[in-house]
Symmetry: C2
DNA sequence: TTCCGTGCAAAATCTTTGCAGATAC
DNA sequence: GTATCTGCAAAGATTTTGCACGGAA
């Protein structure tokens, strides 16, 4: 369930000449404790940490999110809200995709094993080292279709 | 090849109480003339129009791109460059997906018929009206893997 | 004639960056 | 001890918005 321990995070960081800081560890823990299907924006994370009394500056949050996404630990999602969201990048069978209503931003998660296979095959064919693979479906949800407001 | 004519754009706009303006028509044409695999940011489009002497304000460009994406005419891409890109939303067999290097942003397009089918099926199952369906694969390209700079 | 759309300028949002002090290794 | 990391404040980039005028239906 837990993709990364603090120890393996430290190992991966050190391997690249970087350091495990309390901030990085805290942020990893927050994401690991997050229920399936929740995802946080930088601001969400900032506020959650403030509430816990473990405040971390927004700069560090942005830097850490980007770092962990580039390491393949987090995946970056564009859920149509004008800012990025992040969630733990989990392997099969937890790996999933998103169906998003472009009007109200309702988001539905769904799984599909064959997409991950296609992603892995495509990356391999091009010699890419795979980090993440996400199918994003945009549409209009049933509720918004019934609404009288066009677009 | 051409998914929308000016006439069908006008019809679709009018249907919703909106209007076909020269700006909207011009922007549609730009995208229709774009070679397969090219995609434009708002700024790209703005500059291209300036060069042609058909200048359109950035506000209108942003408003039109959003409008056309919500109508399903354009698809909005996040290619990791800090701003959105847009391209014509083409049906099978031109429909395609993107493999992106998170370090240098090199982007490779690829096709896969079964993903579109999965997207359509998933949208239908949830009662969504499908607008777009894109598999985005993030990874590190061969060249960047060889580079000595970590992340 | 009506009301939608455009352009301009200003504002709002989100994200990045420079720098000095702190700290992991 | 040294290079990396953090927090702060400021800057940068992208996108949105209010308003008056112009134009499509």
């Amino acid at each position: 369930m837990t993709a990364y321990s603090s120890a393996s995070l430290k190992a991966e960081l050190n391997e690249r000449g970087w350091r495990l800081t309390p901030q990085r560890e805290t942020i990893l823990h927050i994401f690991q404790e997050l229920p399936q299907g929740e995802h946080l924006s930088a601001e969400d994370l900032y506020q959650r940490l403030e509430e816990r009394g473990e405040g971390i500056s927004l700069s560090t949050i942005y830097r850490t999110l980007k770092l962990m996404a580039r390491m393949g630990i987090l995946r970056e999602l564009d859920l149509g809200e004008g800012h990025k969201h992040y969630e733990i990048n989990q392997p099969y069978p937890h790996h999933h995709h998103h169906l998003i209503c472009i009007r109200c931003n309702e988001t539905i998660e769904f799984k599909n094993e064959s997409i991950l296979k296609t992603g892995a095959k495509t990356a391999q064919k091009e010699g890419y080292h795979l980090l993440d693979c996400q199918l994003t479906i945009h549409g209009v949800c049933p509720k918004c279709q019934r609404s009288l407001i066009p677009v």
